[in-house]
Every structure is written in structure tokens, then in C-alpha cells.
Symmetry: D3
Subunit: 282 residues, 6 copies
């Protein structure tokens, strides 16, 4: 996979809000009281765990938005694997400014590296199978674009970004339309030709019915690995097979071995534990 | 503790951004294609776990900002304990609107209830000791006020909200000022009389030196329960004793038994796993 | 086609900006100088042309955002055909408020009805063929969601909303990747499974090559009706055929008769002449 | 006329909104999938029509806001006449960035150049008469400052920018005040000394009455060229004479020959067809 | 003068920013700690001085934006004269909410009433003369529309709202253009017909030269009352005469008696002392 | 006291709003009409009074945000004492740009220097006593962070920035809780350990009762210097003593001589007269 572009067009607004959240009106009252205004420092951000990093552009920009004169030397890039003690970035500049922006920078970097690292663990489990790991819309408000980027940095793929990007037909929609045929008719008539159509099925019977029509993907929800295997056989390559439900690091390998193309994991974005970085003075 | 006020003055901006994140320009293209514009539905948000809930006002307002005509019946309140299957909210209104705002509403509710529930587990561990559980500034960008509220809903307390609310002197500050006496002198001269002063110490020797001066609190960083016990004895009630570092559900009880007043836990806000709720049609 | 939902989640920000643009700091200095503050009026918005209307929710909300006490009676709905003299809306309320918001309300309604009416003329031309009319990303900055909605109100369809919604491979991309096979390989590897893939071709030879691979749609750019016919025959239903380039009300019928599925028309959103409405006192 | 300053203080907000509109959360998923992240390109924006250009600063800044490292060579300036094939700008930089911002840049440039070119055609028609061509408040929401600038670039003049800039008394105002004398009395008493006063009249009788009082300008609405001539004669230079209503490229010359000072044309900003530019790789 | 409309279209943004400024992320930590969440109170805002009030709509909306369920009874209106002890507003609602928004509401009301009251004192001084009192662009950032409204509430008039509303030619402009004739030529050619033109003169000689041309107003800067008298005589009603410089409550009467039409006073908006109101529980 | 950091993280939003307030959509129509677009000028900001300056970073950034190519030479710094005629800043750049941003830049500088200078006068009065001068929350909406900074520049100290920074218990709170003991109990239980607690008392009896409990500060409201002296004696250093009410330049010295630690003065931020600066061409 080639390196994807960071969603730079969204960073400034997010970083400004995060800095204001931490600095309020009064700013860093500790630094302002005890550090001389012209003191400078050199420090580095060091990994305290093993994993995959993501979010360096946000961390760097958090410092830069606060003080454009701070200088950086990148030692690593998003998507890189790190070991305990690896320096990912060195920072040089005004001490008050660096300490005032430190927490915001680390909050982005630690959260996104946590996502990338968790994704990488899932990806590792499914190596050798046809399955890719992907995220969901179960993201934290205001952070979706960054979280989905972190999933890619960890080797995962993105499901639709929002309700606006693709059609995903669920139980409610089928019930409202009056059946699988009816809902797919409505989609064909009403939806743009430029959006993919996926439909959720809970049983092999439902799947069988769906396969009478043309869909881009089927979401096989909460099926056991054995049932998934049968589903994949039924589909015969006519649609992308996505498994979801009950996926964790213990179960994902068996799910992947069923032959599905995609396994979606909400935990990547809603429950990834933080990745531990420290900022240490040189 | 009396019920705290939800940070309502911050909800609209956050909710609008979250809705735009999920709806983009095109909106819910699935619902718009397959559900009749005037269809209505009644549904409920049901707990799928045991824990403590937080974030109902955000969930309700996510629906309301999207469509002010949606109606709600609250079955539970923030801070309540829930069991699997408990209905926390019923919702009635336009089907397209409810399904379009559902994910945003649940993303808030599941994340914040995850924080409240994790907090409650820590709080339970320290019952019977003098220690309270509190959060840190290791929050997710843009969500701090809501996350800190969720900690309170779970029975925890808040540390300072931001760099602007209280003085917390760390290694860097002591080094920059030239010593503990010097840094506390600078604080006394430069800081407002209306902010508390806490200082981080790593050893009992440092603590001993600090106690020559007046501080509101001492942050006892990464000390073993035994060392903490000695520290508490040294302090003799002259300052609030806060323990931090290496705190998890396995260690927190022994830490609390050292006699500290506060235990700060970054994981409450940076690593709480999501709490599982479902939205089911009635 | 069923009625699509208006992009209500985007209206407030747009309307507020439009009102501030017209009212500045000083507001309607004419009305404030000559109309009594408590005077009320009843008036109606009347069509002065024949066509299809769009944008009533924006017009109504422009008044409402300025003064929530203004009352409305809708006589028509978006997508309705109107004749000269048809009343589409009656408005009752404070005179100063109505006159202050009038221009903003009409600017939305006249522009969007212009788009809907132009779209309807194109749609009428292609009646009886397989072709649908759709818009492009050649929209006016800040108005895309509303303009694309107006196209739908006029009976057209939407192409992708933005660069984020679907893959559209153009000359530049093919050149950069090193060929058609190469670019499609990259897309397969790097893009999400939830986005459609369209590729632009300028000649039948290019089309022939493209058809060796799987794509959702082909954009047949600047081809004559005869060449389009051959292209459609080549494709044999394996991809959606979209024609673009040189489309106007004179040429669109012959283009449609080539058998293409879609005809994209930039003019719908970048060059639609305004539709004439008047606001008259009752 | 000397060159007017572009409304630079308004560009960033508009451009950011336009970029987010096109890039969403996911960005240019085509470029990100198929173009190497460090690829660079050189390209130029070329005119495909004859006309007058406007909006280069917005086009350049659309690229710059997206990627500050993109470099430009200006070959033309706003207000310049261009022929088919004229290069107006060359652009050099990162390929992904250039292609991601291209559409937004062109959407501004094509729309504003369309306005400037249409204005220039009207201006050409009235050459040799006393009349200047000016625009109205019938602008597209969010774009007024840029549209009015484009009118100036095309050789036109601006009417009031908004309701806050000048007094324009219409039928409603006269009726509400109880007559022409009464409305002008109210203006004299209530309005600032720093704003001009114009009054709309539909007949020569009304004009006659108006001329009993002091006004800066009269708006002669929907009068035939002959009636306009009589109106100009009546006014005898005591006020600026503005003609409006029924103005198009066929009628404007005769209207101008009536001797009026100003002819206002809503179409300049509400119905100007786009001007065609292409972005071609060098 | 008839009652002017409050700039309601600008209130929400200002009030939200002001509330966030006072409440931060944590809100009213005092009220939240000590007042029961469902406690209600009735209170009133009482004048503690004699003067003229302005800003009631902002005060009311500050409470309303914070909590829409708070109820009000207006006892007075903007522009009313108040005595010590007059109740201007009674307020009933949730205690926490009222106390949380109180300071913001009073900050608006006290500042704007201070401006209205100071204006009224100047207006009183010039009673019986031809002079009106007006404000300048020397306003406090972000508050201009409200400050200029308060001046009107106090019986004053507004000078231009901003650089965009009228032409005011100063020394710099004359020097840049190369003389008075040259600068007025440029204005005639380049400026819109819908904006007034005022020119600043420092001496009677300059005034004499200016009177060779047509201007709407002359700004007689820093002239003594005697010189002003001569200036007014020279002008002979051909332009509005505005005096500025050295105006205070001691000097304004003699300046007014010179016969000028307008006296502009920067102090109204940049130096008005606060007006004292108290919020007392019923 | 060491130099505090300017709240730079808040400047851009404030300056942009202030520039838009003055420039509207049309910009500086005078400069645009009469000054050549490429003309440059050199000018300086000169003090016309004696006092203490504050706000230079805002003034400089007001020019820079409008035109980043303007160059500056700082002659003075915030907190410096200036005499009549002192040059504080020289400015070089495009004439139109400098004149367009001048008023906004001066509006910040004059207001904040007014606050710093008034603060310095109060500070001078209390020299030799134990008392520091501090500001209140009676600030002007949107300007609090800058105003509180100006107080520090003038030698004063800041009281709490907002309701979120510290506990201040007033009459209402005591009444609501049911007494002094009760309110302090609630604070102890409900409030964070990281916020200081101050309580307002009106009489020595109330003070006596308060001193039975632990508080950080007592606000001695509207007491005479003699009563204040007795209060200070009662407190015996167990809490910070703050005097408020009836403080002005005439009374402040005697209040300070009572031995209080702090005197809060609302006038610093709500009623400081402007400080006079001029911008003169070199």
C-alpha cells in the first residue's frame, strides 16, 4: 500500500480547539510563573512501548501552532514500528512554549499510536489469510479523520467514512422498505451510481436471497467461523464478504480463516488503549 | 456528592461537528434512498453491559440538534448503575432523522459510559480507604469537559481541568528555577492567590525538602505502596497526598491503603474501553 | 424517486453567514429608519416564471433565523412545477424583520430554483432514453450541498459529492501510475472496498483496454454521439456509461440516444440562470 | 479607475470551507491511492475563452491554504483581457496537493471570471454614454464580496454592499411611512449623516414629487428608454439617475443613451455563466 | 427618532464566546458544589445609579443562551432613564443557571448602559443647539455593533460603522493623492455612488479649498470654538460640519454653540465608565 | 515578578473578528479609492500620554494578520513606562494595508494601555503596604484574557479568570446551603482538591464564624479601613485577606494600610479610560 496523505486540511481547527481546551484564558500558569520567558530547551519524544506509531504530523503541528519558531527533527514516520526507547522526534525551542503544548501534542500522538498499534496486532493475526482488517463508524466525536488515518498507519483499511460515503443496508432499512428485493430496488432507483452498496445479513437464508440481486458487499453479522465459511462459499466471489461482531485478538484468526475479505473491528477506534510516549529533556 | 451540572454550554459546537463528520454534505444516503420521508419509529437505547452510564444529555441533544421534533423518555440518569438489558432512553420520531443521528448519539454515550464504568471499578476498589480516584489531563482532544464529567458520574473526582486552573510543579520546573525553594519562591511571587499549588516529588528526600515550605498538595510519583505509606507519615496532613504512576485495577487497592488522599489514573480518560449500548426498534 | 432529505444540518451556518453578509454591523438602516418597530405585514413569494422550485426550506429558515416569530404557509414544495403567478409561500410577521431577511431568502430560493429548472429542462430532453442527467463538482464554493440537492429536486442525479466519496481516474492519474493496468492495480490495493471506481477514457482504444479490468463506471469524455454508441456497445453492460463534454440543451438528446446511462452537465451548478421570484405585500 | 484591493481578509474562511466541502474527512481518495506521495508536477491554468479574468488571488490561495509549498508564476492579473489559450498562471509543486485543490481553485476562478467577463460585455455596450454598469444585492450566499470585486474587475461599479451601507427607499417603505415626504423626513431624522439616500420611483409623477426633497440618487425602475430620458431631464443633475429592470445585453445600450448615470444589472452576480479555464500538465 | 432594531443577528456568537470565557470547561464550580441542581430563584436587576440603560436584550439572551427555561419580566426598555433603585428586569429560574450567567449578562448591561448614560450627558449639554453627538470607530474589538447601538440608545447618532461604509479623507490620503483636488477626483472616479464623502480639514485655508468641490461633510479637526464658528460660516450649509478633537463634557457646549451639525466623541465608546447594576435575590 | 507570556493562542480569532468588524465586505473604500495599490509608507506609533503600555503584540499582529509583509521595529515592550512623545513601534509596509489595519491595532493598544496605566496608578498608591492590586470578572465580553494580561503589565495581579478556576462563596451560596458551616462542608465534599476556596463576609461576626473552618481566602466586602484592620487582626494570617468595594484612587491607600493582602478593583477592567496613542507618518 502506498503512503496515504495525512488529513492536513483538518488539523488546524482541531489543534486550536485542543490548545484552547488545555490553556484556557490564563495559559500555562505554572510555566509562566517559574520559567524565564527566554529560556530554551531541547527534548525528545521517546517510545515507552513496542508498537506502530501514528500522529506525528499532529504532534508537530500542535507545537507549531502554539509557537511557529519551535524546531523539529523527525526520527521516525507514521506507520513505523518502534521499540521501547526509540526516539521518534526531537524538539528544540522556547521552554515555556514547549511545555505548554506538550500535553496536547502527546494526547494526539499517544491516542493515534494506540490505534495504529492495536490495528497492527489484528493485522498480524490475519497474515496469510485473504482478510483485511478495517474500522467502523464507532469513532470518537471530532476525531474520526485522524482515527481512520491511524488505522491505515497500522496496516488496516477504512470502511466508509460516514453515512454520506456508501450505502449500508441494515435490518431497519429492510423492514422499512418491505423486504430485501424492495430495499435494493429503492437503492437502485434513488442512490447515486457513484456509491457502493453493502447489505447486512444475519443468516445464510438471508444471504441466499440477497445473492439474487447485485450488491457490492455483504456484511455477515455475528456469524460463527463455520457459518462464515459457508457464506463465503455461497457468495462465490460475487460480492465482497465482510465479517463483523465478536471480533477480538483471540477470535480474529479463525474468523479470517473462513475466507472472508474483510473483518471490521469497532474496538480499533472506540477502545484502543493509549500508547505510551514520554517527553524527556535532552 | 451532589449532582454536577453537565457542561451544556459546550455541547452544541461538539454535536454539530460530530454530525457534520458523519453526515458530510450528502447526509445519510442509505436512509434517504430507502425510507419514506414521513415514516416514524419508536426505539430504545438498551444497555448490553453492567456498569455506570454517562452522557445521556449529549445523546439526547445529538438527536435534538439534528431534528428538534424527536421526543424522548428518560428511563435512567447519568451516574446510575445499569444491568444488561436496562432501557436507558426511549426515542420517538421521524425514522430518517433518528437513524441519521443514531451513531453520533451512541458514540458519545458509549464512550462516556465507558469512562464512568471504568471509574466506578476503581472507586469500588478503594472503598473503605481515604483515597479518592481522579483523572488527569491525558484526555482526548476536544472531549476533555465531557470526559471529566464522565469521571465524576462514575464517582471519581477531577484533577485540574487545564494548565490554567492550578499550579503543578514538575521536574522541569524545579530544574529551570534552580531548586525546590527557588521554584516555590517564584510561584509565591508570580502566581495568583486563587490557584492551588501542587509539587511532584519522586523520593522521600525531595518530599522532606518540600515540606519545609507551604504547598497545597504533593504528587508522589511512581512510589511503591510502602514508600507511599512513609510519605503520608512524613506529610502529617500538612498537604494533600496524591499518588500517581503504575495504577491499575490490580494495584490500586494497595496504593489506597497507604493512606494517600488521591490516586490519579490516566487510563480513565485515555484508555477506557467503550460501553456497549444498542438502539433497538420497539 | 422518493423525496430526499434537505441537508438541514448545513443550513444554519450558511444562513447566518448570508445574513451577516447583508446586514453587516448596522443592519437594515433603511427599515430601521422608516418603519415602526412593531409594524407587521403579510406577503407572499410568487413565481414570475415557469419552472421547478427548490430551496424553500432555506428561504423559510433565512426568515426564521433572523426572527423566529415569523409565520409561514407553504403553498408548494421543492420539486414542484410552478407557473407564472403561482404563490409558493406566504409570510406573516414583523415588517422590519421580513424586509431585512427578504433578499437573503430570495437569493437562496432564486438560485436553487434556477438550478432545478435548468435540470428539469435537460431531464425533459432525455425522456424516453436510458440516460439520467447528473451534476459535477463544478459547484460554487460553499453552496455544493444545496446545489446538488437542487439538481435532485429538478429530477437529476448526483455524481460524487467530493473527492472523498468515489474514485474517478483521469489522465493525470493514469500517467502518474504508468498505465491503465497500473492505475487500477493501485486502486485495488490502496482504496477502500466501499468506494466506487470510475475511469475517464477519451478513445475507444482506451475503453477497450479498460474493459480488461473491473471498473464500476467509465467516463466517456468529449465523444460524438456516434462514438458514444460504439462505446456503449463495447461496454456491454459491464460498467455504467457516463458521457460528458459538449453537453447542452441542443446536444443532450442525441447524446442520450447513444444509450449511455448518465450524462453529466457542469452547467447545472456553475451556470444556471437565476429563477425569478418576487416578494409582494398582500 | 485605480486597482482595488482584493478582499483578502475574507479569503481564508471561504477557502477553508470550500476545501473541506470537496475533501471531506477522507481527502482525495483517488490521488492518495494512485499518486506517489512525493511526486511533483508543473502545470498551468489556461483560458479556453475570450474575456476578462478575476479571482486569481483566490485560486492561488486555494492551492496555498492546502499546501503552502506550492509555487506560482502569475502570467496575468485580475482585470486583464484574455484570449483562448492564454496562460494565466503556472503552478509547481506536489502532485497530490495540486490535484486535490485544483477543483476548488478553478471553481472560484471560473465563476468570478464569468462575472468579470459578463460585466465587461455590458460595459462595452454603454461605451460613449454617461452610464456606468453596476451590480445589485442579488448575489450568491457567502460569495458577495468576491462577486462584487469581480464586477469591478470587469469594469463595473458596485451598488451598496448590503442593507447596512446605504439607504434605498422602496415602495414598502413609502407605504409604511405614509408618503414620500414622510419617508424622507424619517430618514433625515433617523439615519446617519454618513449614508447616502436613494429612492425608487416607478413613474414620472412620483419622480416629480421626490424632486421636491433632497436625495442623493433616484432609482428609475422598469421605465422605457423614452421615459428614462424624460426622467433624466426632470432631474436636471440634482440626483444620480439609476435605471433598473429589463436590462440585458440587447437593451442596455438604448437604456444608457437615455442619459442615466447608472444601470444596475442583477444578472452580473446571479446569472453569469461560468468562464472556461483548464488546468493542464506542462 | 424612532426605536432602532437591536443587532440581534450578532448576539448569539458574542454571548456564546462570553459564556465560554467565564465558564471554561469546568463551569461554575462554586454553584455546582453548593447549590442543589433543581433549586430555583427569583431575582431582579436593579439600577444603582441614575442614567440611561442599554443592552437589556443582550442581558436577557445571555441568560437564555445558557438556559432557555429562565423566565423574564421586563420593567424597562433600552433608552429609558433610570433612577437609583429602579428594577429593570426580574428573572426567575434555576438557581445554578442564573448565577452562572449573571456576570456575563451584567458585563454587557453595565458596559452598554455606561455608554448610553455618558452619551446622554453629552446630548444634554448640546440641547438647544444644532449639534448632534456621534461616536467614532474608536470602539472595543468585537463590541462595535453593540456599542454603537448603545450610543443611539443614549440619544446620540452613529458615524460610519466601519471603513467600508463611507469615505473619510484624512491627511494621509490627501498627501498620497497629491492634493485636495486630486484626492477628490480619485474618489469621484473610483468610489461607489452610494457612499458619502467626508474630508478632514485642519485650517480654514484647507476648508476654503475643499469648498471648491462637492463633498457631503467636512470634519473640522481640533479647531477652537471660534474657528469652528468661522468654518460654519464659510461652509454656508453646503456640507455637514462635524467637529472633533478636544471634546469633553466641559467643552462640548461651547463647541456646539459654534453652529456645527455634529460633534464626534471617541470617549463614548472607548472610555465610558461602567454603569452600576446589581442582581439581588427577591 | 517575571514577565508573563502573552495569551497568543487567543489572538488570531480576536484580531480576525476585529478586522472584519472594521472592513466589512467592502474593505477600506477610502484607501482603495485614493491610494495607489503599491504605495508604501513608514510610520510610528507614538505615546501622547504618560503611563504604562500593554498590547503591543496584539497591535503588531493586527497589522500582520491583515498583511504579513508589514515590518516592525519595537521600541518598547509591554509593561514599560512611557512619556509623551515616546515612540513605541515603527511600521513599514504597504500604505493601503497599514491604514486599513491602523484603527484595529490602535483600538487594542489604547484600551489595554489604558488598563495597564490605571492599574499602575493604583499600584503606586499602595507601595510600601502589604497589599497587591487585583482585577475582577467585571471584564468586557470577549476581551477578558487580554484585559487580565494588561492588569499584570501594569503591576497588578489577577483574581480568578472565570467561574471555573476557583471557588468564591457569596451570600447566595451561603443562603442556599443553609449556613457557613454547611456551604464549606459542601465545598469540601464536592469540589476538586486543586481549586482554592474564598468566602465573602460582610461583618466581623461572619468572619469570626468562617475562621472556625479552613479557607484559603476571605473577601472582606465593603468594610471601612478600620473594620478591615480588625478583620486582618482576627484572621491572624490563617487566610489571605482581600478587600473589595468602594475602592478608588482616593481610598485605596487607606484600605491598603489596613494590612489586607489584596485589593480587588473592578474599575481596572470595566472603566479604564483609553490611553492616547497616535500613528504618524515618518
Amino acid at each position: 500500500m502506498i503512503e496515504t496523505t495525512f488529513p492536513h486540511h483538518l488539523t488546524k481547527r482541531s489543534i486550536r480547539a485542543a490548545l484552547e481546551e488545555d490553556l484556557g484564558l490564563a495559559g500555562d500558569i505554572t510555566g509562566n510563573a517559574v520559567i524565564a520567558p527566554d529560556e530554551t530547551m531541547t527534548c525528545s519524544i521517546t517510545s515507552r512501548e513496542q508498537g506502530v506509531i501514528a500522529g506525528l504530523p499532529l504532534a508537530i503541528n500542535a507545537f507549531r501552532v502554539h509557537d511557529p519558531s519551535i524546531e523539529f527533527t523527525r526520527k521516525m514516520h507514521d506507520g513505523d514500528k518502534v521499540e521501547v526507547g526509540d526516539v521518534v522526534l526531537t524538539i528544540k525551542g522556547n521552554s515555556r512554549a514547549i511545555l505548554a503544548a506538550e500535553r496536547v501534542a502527546l494526547n494526539y500522538l499517544c491516542h493515534l499510536s494506540g490505534i495504529a498499534s492495536l490495528t497492527a496486532k489484528f493485522v498480524e493475526q490475519v497474515e496469510g489469510t485473504k482478510a483485511a482488517i478495517c474500522c467502523t463508524r464507532k469513532t470518537l466525536p471530532g476525531l474520526r479523520a485522524f482515527q481512520k488515518y491511524a488505522v491505515r498507519a497500522g496496516g488496516g483499511r477504512n470502511h466508509r467514512y460516514g453515512l454520506d460515503q456508501a450505502i449500508l443496508i441494515k435490518d431497519n432499512h429492510i423492514a422499512s422498505a418491505g423486504g430485501i428485493k424492495e430495499v435494493l430496488d429503492k437503492v437502485r432507483i434513488n442512490a447515486s451510481h457513484m456509491v457502493r452498496v453493502e447489505i447486512e445479513v444475519d443468516t445464510l437464508e438471508q444471504l441466499q436471497e440477497v445473492l439474487n440481486y447485485k450488491v457490492d458487499a455483504v456484511l455477515l453479522d455475528n456469524m460463527s467461523p463455520d457459518t462464515l465459511k459457508k457464506a463465503v462459499a455461497l457468495v462465490e466471489g460475487r460480492a465482497i464478504c465482510e465479517a463483523s461482531g465478536g471480533v477480538n485478538l483471540q477470535t480474529v484468526k479463525r474468523i479470517a480463516q473462513s475466507g472472508v475479505n474483510l473483518i471490521s473491528v469497532g474496538a480499533l477506534t472506540h477502545s484502543a488503549p493509549v500508547f505510551d510516549f514520554g517527553l524527556d529533556e535532552a
